[in-house]
Symmetry: C2
Subunit: 254 residues, 2 copies
């Protein structure tokens, strides 16, 4: 049985708590957070506290707070025997200071309030500084996921950057597409099958090979007509720049 | 029973042929195309011809050729009694000339060679110039899909533009993400669950509300670090511009 203390009360903390709570090999001892209201989510099931000087002892301390607060929260764990791991994609392991056993337990997924996730499919990126600590994180990860990756701080930085393109920026393009639909009395749902196919296709085709559209074909007339339809300056610039990038990528390779 | 002649031999023509062929209410009489090799896909099942002066009579003529060739191919159908419909997202109905009954039968999906599509989920956007013709296109669409939308040429232009953002540009962002992964010895598949969740989320959350990431939070330190990691000038520009667009969108509304 692995004993855990969770520091943080946001979406990642909640989702981790929920998946740990249902597992017989994991014992969540305590959840800590500054915000009393947010702690109420946990308080019927586990010891909670707003006082970071009263952290219980545990095998693993999971820091699931905002990136900027990781280093500060880690200081409260100086002198503890357990392994201190943060859950962030973009914070290096070194941010945890040098007064404890350090590790990273980063679930690579976008967690939303109230939307359950099948944790078995969530890649868990783990990092530690010795074999013993790595094995302990592995043991924890295996309890909840089928996809465990040993990833260095440097690689994790790259994953986080790639995720910004694949998730955050993609979502913004969906926002733009949905605005274009709304402006023309069209339901955004009309695009859902196309979007699903774009993603599904990746199972059998690398995105480089799946590229289609006017920029790939260098179809200048269609691109001009599209630019004329766009009224928002940022959206025009995005259209031009992404088209340029696609043209150059396939122009070079053809 | 609706009789059909298909003009064109590309991916759209093939996918339409395949779904029509399996349907008892639809009789595909002929497929025409300039390229003999491409016609061979159809020739065991149906009459084929490279000679556009020998088009059989039918209820509906479906023009599934490249956008630039629609008008030219339509001319071969002058004087026919059947309804002439093209299958393009970006070509106006007027491109079909004024010597026949005109319509549009646009399946809003990205069709790839050799990858079957569940046509029942493909939105079919139809347009015609009178009730009789519209009903005929409706009847055809109902045979193959559960999602039929009556869409004007103007709206179709907007859908096509929205689809470029939601499909072509999104795919390019996936290409960039996969390059970042490859450059750092990471499998692109590590991002698949995140990408799937980004898309799945749209079922319960509008993309505007689902936005997350450093640009939304105006997390300047992370954005600077990301820009430093990118070596490709286009990718740096894309990062900056999309971040700017997200910042301004949420800055205005907060």
């Amino acid at each position: 049985m692995i004993s855990i203390v969770i520091l943080g009360t946001g979406n990642v903390a909640k989702h981790l708590f929920d998946v740990f709570w249902g597992n017989k090999e994991i014992n969540v001892l305590q959840v800590l957070g500054r915000n009393k209201h947010k702690l109420s989510y946990f308080k019927d099931k586990v010891d909670t506290s707003t006082d970071f000087s009263k952290i219980l002892d545990a095998d693993i301390f999971l820091i699931a707070v905002s990136d900027d607060s990781v280093a500060e929260v880690a200081q409260f764990l100086n002198g503890k025997n357990g392994l201190v791991a943060h859950t962030s994609g973009s914070v290096p392991i070194a941010a945890l200071g040098n007064k404890s056993r350090r590790g990273v337990f980063y679930p690579l997924q976008s967690f939303s309030e109230g939307k359950p996730i099948d944790f078995k499919t969530v890649p868990i990126c783990i990092e530690a500084e010795n074999e013993v600590d790595l094995k302990q994180l592995q043991k924890l990860a295996q309890q909840v996921s089928l996809q465990i990756h040993e990833i260095s701080s440097e690689q994790r930085k790259s994953i986080h950057l790639a995720a910004v393109f694949a998730n955050n920026f993609t979502n913004h393009l969906f926002t733009i597409a949905s605005e274009i639909c709304a402006d023309n009395d069209l339901p955004f749902s009309i695009l859902t099958p196309l979007i699903k196919e774009t993603v599904e296709k990746m199972g059998c085709l690398a995105p480089f090979d799946a590229q289609t559209g006017p920029a790939k074909r260098n179809d200048i007339r269609t691109m001009e007509s599209h630019l004329n339809q766009l009224k928002n300056k940022n959206y025009q610039d995005i259209y031009s720049l992404l088209s340029k990038s696609i043209k150059e990528k396939y122009g070079q390779k053809l």
